[in-house]
Symmetry: C2
Subunit: 184 residues, 2 copies
């Protein structure tokens, strides 16, 4: 295998993660066979598993990548904005979220390894809410942790609704209400 | 098969639905084979499918039974109380809810047939909220339909959280916040 520079290595990891996301979303975790992963990523199994130990590590990396991206949106624009933009996310993202919740439900080992990662979004949410409290825009009669838990509950409801194809005509008004509930 | 009186018929349907619920919850829809259904219900396949056309109709009846029971709680005590009591519901109920959301996600035909039934809970929620508005306890600056959509979103987030085993130490405080968000 030719040596890759650091930049190329980064690009290669990105290619693998993005292709794997498409395959996990379409085929599910079990259905994403090594053959399908190869076809979707456009690399041989040797090249793929040079970067990721096994399929499980690869799924973990995809979920981690999504969590990091979501945490960045939360830090910059807040959880409510993340929810408002959910409708523009593609089926790949939704598929990974659903697969993630299935794994968390059925796989205690995975759940334990994921615990630290799932903190990424919660922490970003709490930090941003604390800044809102400090600026005087958010309510102070409820602890920031409770505000964050509330918003994360609504976020997960929204993920489930999107997954089930529940119509969201009224979504903007509902999210205005959600936003109002955490404001001063 | 001996003839059953109307009461016995009711009791027989109840036995079948409750046993089927346990099997669907433990084995999933696919895993609930006719043999397992027979063992859990304690009746022969002949007796079971005398009352329900096939496994699909049986699952539909179980989900319908849960929806009717939930709608009754909502009509009497409201959606927030339904959420507060969620933690006392058993794994059987949760299993059926998860299987239901999976079917709604993956089976367009089922989704269409379910649409009318899913209205049961929404309607009970809207009617109760309207009574709160009329009594002057709920806010009037947001349409009742939006309040109901908000509460149903939180309910589904809670179902997903329970399914994933997300800790709910802060749940009472979060639901106080939710309740406050719809009050005047």
């Amino acid at each position: 295998m030719p040596r890759l520079t650091a930049d190329n290595l980064q690009a290669r990891r990105r290619t693998i993660i993005d292709g794997a996301r498409r395959s996990f979303a379409r085929d599910g975790y079990e259905g994403a066979t090594v053959r399908r992963l190869e076809a979707e990523i456009g690399l041989s199994r040797g090249a793929i598993f040079h970067h990721f130990r096994d399929k499980d590590s690869l799924f973990f990396a995809v979920a981690e990548d999504d969590a990091a991206e979501m945490a960045a949106v939360v830090a910059e624009h807040g959880l409510v904005q993340l929810m408002r933009d959910l409708r523009y996310r593609d089926a790949g993202w939704l598929g990974v979220q659903l697969e993630l919740s299935r794994r968390l439900r059925t796989d205690a080992d995975f759940r334990e390894r994921w615990a630290a990662r799932s903190e990424t979004i919660s922490r970003a949410a709490r930090e941003r809410l604390q800044r809102g409290v400090d600026r005087g825009t958010l309510r102070t009669d409820v602890p920031v942790g409770t505000l964050a838990a509330f918003l994360e509950l609504v976020l997960d409801g929204l993920v489930l609704h999107r997954a089930m194809g529940v119509p969201d005509d009224d979504l903007d008004a509902v999210l205005d209400l959600v936003e109002g509930a955490v404001r001063r």
